[in-house]
């Protein structure tokens, strides 16, 4: 059967002169296999990713990786889907936590554990930190993607301010934190505790809080056990937490700081305006580079409620997925790249240049032995690792495996915005989040009818 290519000329008249200016596709340089890697980071982090890619390209002769920022996590996923459905997908893509489940339920990927076994790499998957492994592994404990940029939430506190109220340590419980806020307020600080109520903050106020306090978000092991999970966080300590937060807000102990108010909470902390915030360890470098000169500050684990045994906090960030439909050579290249970034030296490079944490034990040990955590610039970041490994057993919220989770986070934000604007009571607001969130879960379940969670 002969195949003819027709029609190139047919439409090019309509295209006019522009059609003649076609750009050349990048050539396969010197017989090397070229693969694409699409990611969502931007700004300075994108530059570090580019440097990682360059280091890989310089480290060997056989493969070239071309890394392209898609500008945001959502765009990276969306653009990859578009490309995948047109048969033009990159070999590796970075997928953020809330985009994971759609991909996991599709046929579009090559499972990480299988790829590495097929390509002859021996990977000790238990080397990944438990909090990270618990988040990304399937219910059967298999890893389908490679944890990449990872972080966890910490309490940032201003040592100078705490010294004024006679304290040298950060509060370990919320009861203690409430006393500290009152003392800070009495000492003349306008913003003892800064917080934010946008959708992104669901990650720490709902998800991280539930993890460290060992409270579930949903039935079925937070969704790991099946797509028919139902949200239950309107019956957990989360209600008490929001009730407390609201009362601290009403007393002027906790102040809303977000971008729209002109100053987000990280900036508010760095400038010395707010004395405590909860945010990602990823902001450690930001605070360091923008803090008021001479300000003494540190980080601590998230507070828990009194009487609660602290559990490991959650990982946040994104992981790398290898997509289906590529050639054996491309998979070889992908495995080589993923093996490269899993090396301890790369963990040190990555964490030195970004605020992200190492994802493996060997990476962490390597950084410790190289004195990374003794450097005053990075001191305190080891608390993130301590927080991720605070308990041996997995907490009720060791992760979230729920579909439409971005929309659920949006419902959470809508709910507490209404609570803080005094439109609804705390319980009504949280019931509303759960009710609308469950509708999203049922819709997702119907979309994947007949599919089993791996």
């Amino acid at each position: 059967m002969k195949r003819y290519l027709l029609g190139t000329a047919a439409l090019s008249t309509a295209a006019g002169a522009a059609a003649l200016l076609a750009l050349a596709m990048p050539a396969m340089a010197g017989g090397k296999t070229k693969i694409d890697f699409w990611y969502g980071n931007s700004g300075h982090i994108s530059e570090v990713v580019q440097q990682v890619c360059k280091n890989f390209n310089d480290s060997q002769q056989d493969y070239t990786i071309v890394c392209t920022s898609q500008g945001s996590y959502a765009a990276a996923v969306q653009n990859t889907i578009a490309a995948y459905r047109a048969g033009q997908q990159p070999t590796i893509v970075q997928v953020f936590d809330v985009g994971t489940l759609d991909l996991m339920l599709s046929d579009a990927y090559y499972p990480a554990s299988k790829l590495m076994a097929d390509e002859g790499y021996k990977v000790d998957w238990n080397n990944y930190l438990p909090g990270i492994r618990g988040y990304y592994a399937t219910s059967k404990g298999e890893m389908y993607s490679f944890p990449f940029n990872s972080s966890t939430a910490l309490l940032y506190w201003n040592k100078d301010a705490f010294q004024k109220i006679g304290k040298t340590a950060a509060p370990a419980t919320w009861e203690e934190a409430a006393e500290d806020m009152k003392a800070l307020k009495a000492a003349g600080y306008a913003c003892p505790f800064g917080f934010d109520i946008t959708a992104d903050e669901s990650w720490q106020f709902l998800e991280q809080f539930s993890a460290v306090n060992n409270e579930p978000l949903a039935t079925k092991d937070n969704g790991y056990g099946g797509l028919d999970a139902e949200l239950v966080f309107n019956k957990t300590k989360f209600v008490k937490y929001i009730t407390d937060l609201k009362s601290w807000y009403d007393q002027g102990l906790a102040v809303i700081k977000d971008e729209q108010a002109g100053q987000d909470m990280v900036a508010a902390f760095a400038s010395g305006d707010c004395q405590m915030i909860l945010t990602s360890v990823g902001d450690h470098g930001t605070v360091g580079s923008t803090a008021k000169p001479g300000m003494n500050w540190s980080v601590a684990m998230l507070p828990v409620y009194e009487g609660v045994k602290r559990h490991s906090s959650l990982v946040g960030g994104a992981s790398l997925w290898v997509l289906a439909g590529k050639s054996p050579e491309e998979y070889k290249a992908a495995a080589a790249f993923l093996n490269f970034i899993a090396q301890p030296e790369q963990a040190l490079f990555w964490s030195t240049n970004t605020g992200y944490i190492p994802v493996t034990k060997t990476g962490y040990d390597y950084m410790v032995s190289h004195g990374f955590y003794d450097d005053p610039k990075y001191k305190g970041r080891e608390i993130a690792i301590a927080s991720l490994t605070a308990s041996d057993e997995l907490s009720a919220t060791h992760g979230t495996r729920m579909g439409g989770f971005l929309q659920i986070r949006n419902e959470v934000a809508n709910g507490w915005q209404a609570i803080f604007a005094n439109k609804v009571s705390v319980q009504e607001g949280i019931d509303g989040m759960v009710e609308r969130g469950n509708a999203i879960l049922r819709r997702f379940e119907a979309t994947y009818k007949g599919k089993q969670l791996p």
């Binding site: 969306q78 946008t198 002109g262 439409g404 819709r443 994947y448």
Partner: protein, 294 residues
């Protein structure tokens, strides 16, 4: 609207429009048709299955009071931005058209806002409208609590309207100015000779001759503010606080582009398109009657 004097060569007319038709068919209707088909299914984003559900997506959407609230907000936003954006631009264009001292500077600078890139626009307005720090902090200093877009839905709506109008003035201004320039000087001079003053001439000559452009801008502005406003919402408020700025198109963008609910976004898109088509139809039917083409 129909001209009396037409060319009789029917096929030439068809040939002239064919390139555009080929383009819109290939790059709009073909892909859009597929995307909108998903409204009647539950589409999996990575492919591999889409269950036919008939009108289920529409039923669950239209049965949700939250959806109707977002329709109302979209209307408010569209009419407010169109009204302010066009009104201010018209006044400025008429003044700039008078060629007073420095008119070249005005003509240039008043178009510039349209050229600003989205991330910069968000940053600048965040600075200007921030209640605790920016220029609006002054307002809060004089009347404490008067400006709070973080928790007050009305203030947040005003903030996105201001940012959108600011950008659209440049767009409207340039088309108004182009139309004003097309009005022959002789006409205005003749009217002046007859003793009618400037304001009179604006009302009797310039505005009637501008009606084709005004009509054009009303239709385009309304359509754009319904369908092209998600970027500003995304940068400034993300639909909050508590859905106060959740415009229909932002919800479509959020569900479809960010949240991967292709079917839900498709169903919402169909409703939005129908709404805008009906609105546009009424404008052509009733508003265009008042346009003076001759």
């Amino acid at each position: 609207m129909e001209k009396r004097a037409l060319f009789s060569n029917k096929w030439l007319g068809v040939a002239l429009i064919t390139p555009q038709i080929l383009l819109v068919f290939t790059f709009f209707y073909w892909p859009t048709g597929q995307a909108l088909f998903w409204a009647f299914t539950l589409e999996r984003p990575w492919g591999g299955g889409n269950e036919w559900v008939g009108l289920h997506n529409f039923a669950s959407m239209l049965g949700d009071p939250v959806y109707w609230a977002s329709v109302a907000k979209s209307m408010v936003f569209a009419f407010a931005t169109t009204g302010f954006g066009m009104g201010l631009a018209l006044v400025l264009a008429i003044l700039a058209d008078r060629e007073l001292r420095g008119f070249r500077v005005y003509r240039t600078v008043l178009v510039w806002p349209y050229a600003i890139a989205a991330p910069a626009l968000g940053l600048a307005f965040r600075f200007i409208l921030a209640p605790q720090a920016g220029f609006m902090a002054f307002l809060n200093h004089v009347w404490p609590g008067s400006w709070d877009p973080v928790l007050n839905g009305l203030d947040a709506m005003i903030a996105i309207i201001i940012a959108y109008v600011w950008k659209s003035i440049g767009y409207n201004f340039i088309f108004f100015l182009a139309a004003l320039q097309a009005i022959p000087k002789s006409l205005i001079e003749a009217a002046a000779m007859d003793g009618s003053g400037i304001l009179r001439r604006i009302k009797d000559i310039q505005v009637p001759l501008l009606t084709p452009t005004i009509f054009f801008l009303i239709v385009i502005n309304l359509t754009d503010s319904f369908t092209d406003s998600f970027g500003i919402v995304d940068i400034m408020t993300q639909g909050g606080p508590a859905r106060a700025t959740e415009l229909m198109v932002y919800k479509i963008f959020f569900d479809g582009f960010k949240g991967l609910d292709y079917s839900g976004a498709a169903a919402q898109s169909i409703i939005l398109m129908l709404l805008v088509i009906v609105l546009t139809f009424f404008q052509f039917r009733y508003v265009e009657r008042r346009v003076h083409y001759k």
